[in-house]
């Protein structure tokens, strides 16, 4: 697996630096405008959770190098494990970098100390796990098109939800109840007291979701023809 990690590093290091340069501009603007640690955590997680898999797996898709990687003396299951590890490493790097930016930018409205709490970090990892767990199997199976399929799918789902909500009418139709429950869950996630039980539950769900995602990705990748 370390060989795959090294391979991913050598193949992607320049692109990751470019992404970090883009992050510098983006987060410079963001930390000058946002003063809520919760909004910062959620938006950062979404940004990093989307950008890093896109960077690493997108390049492979662009240059059609999967066939090259699969011709190396390594099992495909190990290749997938390496991709997960490499993407997590890139995410860790991205998170660390954005926190650094929030801390060093003189015009930053974010108090880094408010973010560097166990709850914020666990919530961040949990959110990234969820984004990551959905995106990676699609990307591993369909390449860049997979991300587009997923995003278009979410857009269509949103449109469908709006139409359904309008058709069903009333404040207590099942769809609105469901959306309120999701929003409530997210609020609870961001405001819940950081008890050890809560943090452990976040960690357990994050690990379980990642493991399920890895399992699905492996099954998809082993079946792929190059």
């Amino acid at each position: 697996m370390l060989k795959i990690l090294r391979l991913e590093y050598l193949l992607n290091r320049r692109q990751i630096l470019i992404v970090l340069a883009i992050f510098t501009a983006y987060f410079a603007y963001m930390v000058s405008r946002i003063d809520s640690p919760r909004v910062f955590v959620v938006s950062t997680c979404i940004m990093i959770g989307l950008a890093m898999p896109f960077t690493i797996l997108g390049r492979e898709d662009k240059f059609k190098t999967s066939a090259f990687v699969c011709s190396l003396p390594v099992r495909r299951s190990t290749v997938v494990l390496g991709k997960y590890a490499a993407t997590w490493a890139a995410i860790g790097l991205g998170l660390g970098y954005t926190l650094l930016l929030a801390a060093v930018f003189p015009f930053s409205k974010i108090q880094v100390a408010e973010i560097l709490t166990a709850r914020s970090l666990f919530v961040a990892l949990f959110l990234i796990s969820l984004i990551f767990a959905v995106i990676l199997p699609f990307t591993i199976r369909f390449g860049l098109v997979g991300i587009i399929i997923l995003l278009v799918g979410f857009q269509l789902l949103g449109i469908l939800a709006l139409i359904l909500s309008h058709v069903l009418g009333g404040a207590n139709n099942p769809l609105r109840v469901f959306i309120r429950a999701v929003a409530g869950g997210l609020r609870t996630l961001l405001t819940h007291e950081a008890t050890p039980g809560f943090l452990l539950a976040l960690l357990a769900v994050g690990v379980a979701v990642s493991a399920a995602s890895l399992f699905v990705s492996r099954a998809l990748y082993v079946r792929r023809d190059f």
């Binding site: 391979l7 050598l10 066939a67 090259f68 011709s71 190396l72 003396p73 390594v74 079946r223 023809d225």
Partner: protein, 288 residues
């Protein structure tokens, strides 16, 4: 003689094409050419050996081991050259080599640099800026730098100029001199195979037409040419295909000796080249 590759009953189905019941073996220390027209299934076989695509049935054994169960061990002994090199385009050659070298215990950096020098490549060159021929040379350098026992190449000479094709074929010939290394390469350029191959496997429409020693093929296959319309293909022993023009008939036979013995008047009998065989079976009228 033991075999480097043994393929038995291999099957792969695509929409509109099926590779069916492919069986052949590549003896160790030899060069085998896989020939066939475009779309015959050559690349599919190469990919199945490399497990780049999933087989539907059959078995592939490399160095006596199943290629799926022992995938990493087997691939560590294979130098693979793709028809279109699939390296990350924007990287320098030295970066690609550095990424690849960690996977092979037998990687020899000085040998790799010697090969680059021989092919007039610089480690600092960026892959995408190379011509197709130079990309193939780089792929070959990667394939040869880890002391592979089996060199597997898919259409390595396609799109190359005659000078480099000659260099490549000479290199392959030199490679098997120690009788441990084996080469399997697919090509539709029959002259390349006639120059270097010890064995030839001919694939047509997803099936093996024959797999035998090249000299045996060239000794036993022939073309009978006759003017006018007095001769019928079914009169020729071992007829495998024919081409009829307005004024003549050409018949391919896989039993040249029997054809020579039969009383055919007004005919010219020649040995068949691999190109003749590929033409008659691929484009002519195939004959049972």
């Amino acid at each position: 003689m033991d075999n480097a590759i043994e393929i038995t009953g291999l099957r792969k189905e695509y929409k509109g094409f099926t590779l069916e019941d492919v069986t052949f073996a590549v003896p160790r220390g030899t060069i085998m050419g896989l020939i066939g027209p475009n779309g015959a299934g050559k690349t599919t076989i190469v990919k199945l050996i490399m497990n780049l695509i999933r087989r539907d049935a059959g078995e592939v054994r490399v160095f006596g081991r199943d290629n799926l169960r022992h995938e990493p061990e087997i691939k560590s002994r294979i130098g693979f050259v793709y028809d279109v090199p699939r390296f990350p385009e924007d990287l320098r050659l030295k970066t690609i080599a550095s990424a690849v070298s960690a996977f092979y215990e037998g990687w020899d950096d000085s040998r790799f640099r010697d090969l680059l020098e021989e092919f007039r490549l610089s480690p600092r060159q960026v892959f995408k800026k190379l011509s197709h021929g130079l990309k193939m040379k780089f792929s070959l350098a990667i394939a040869l730098a880890h002391g592979a026992d089996l060199i597997l190449m898919d259409e390595p000479t396609a799109g190359l100029d005659p000078v480099f094709r000659f260099e490549l074929l000479t290199k392959l010939r030199a490679l098997i001199q120690d009788e441990r290394k084996t080469v399997l390469f697919s090509s539709h350029i029959t002259s390349d195979l006639e120059r270097v191959a010890d064995y030839v496997t001919f694939i047509h429409q997803g099936r093996v037409v024959f797999s035998a020693a090249k000299d045996e093929i060239l000794d036993t296959w022939g073309v009978i040419r006759a003017a006018g319309d007095g001769l019928r293909p079914e009169d020729i022993p071992g007829a495998r295909g024919f081409r009829r023009t307005e004024h003549s008939l050409e018949v391919l036979t896989s039993d040249l000796a029997a054809a020579r013995r039969s009383p055919l008047s007004g005919t010219v009998i020649d040995k068949a080249s691999l190109e003749d065989i590929m033409f008659f079976i691929g484009k002519g009228n195939a004959h049972a």
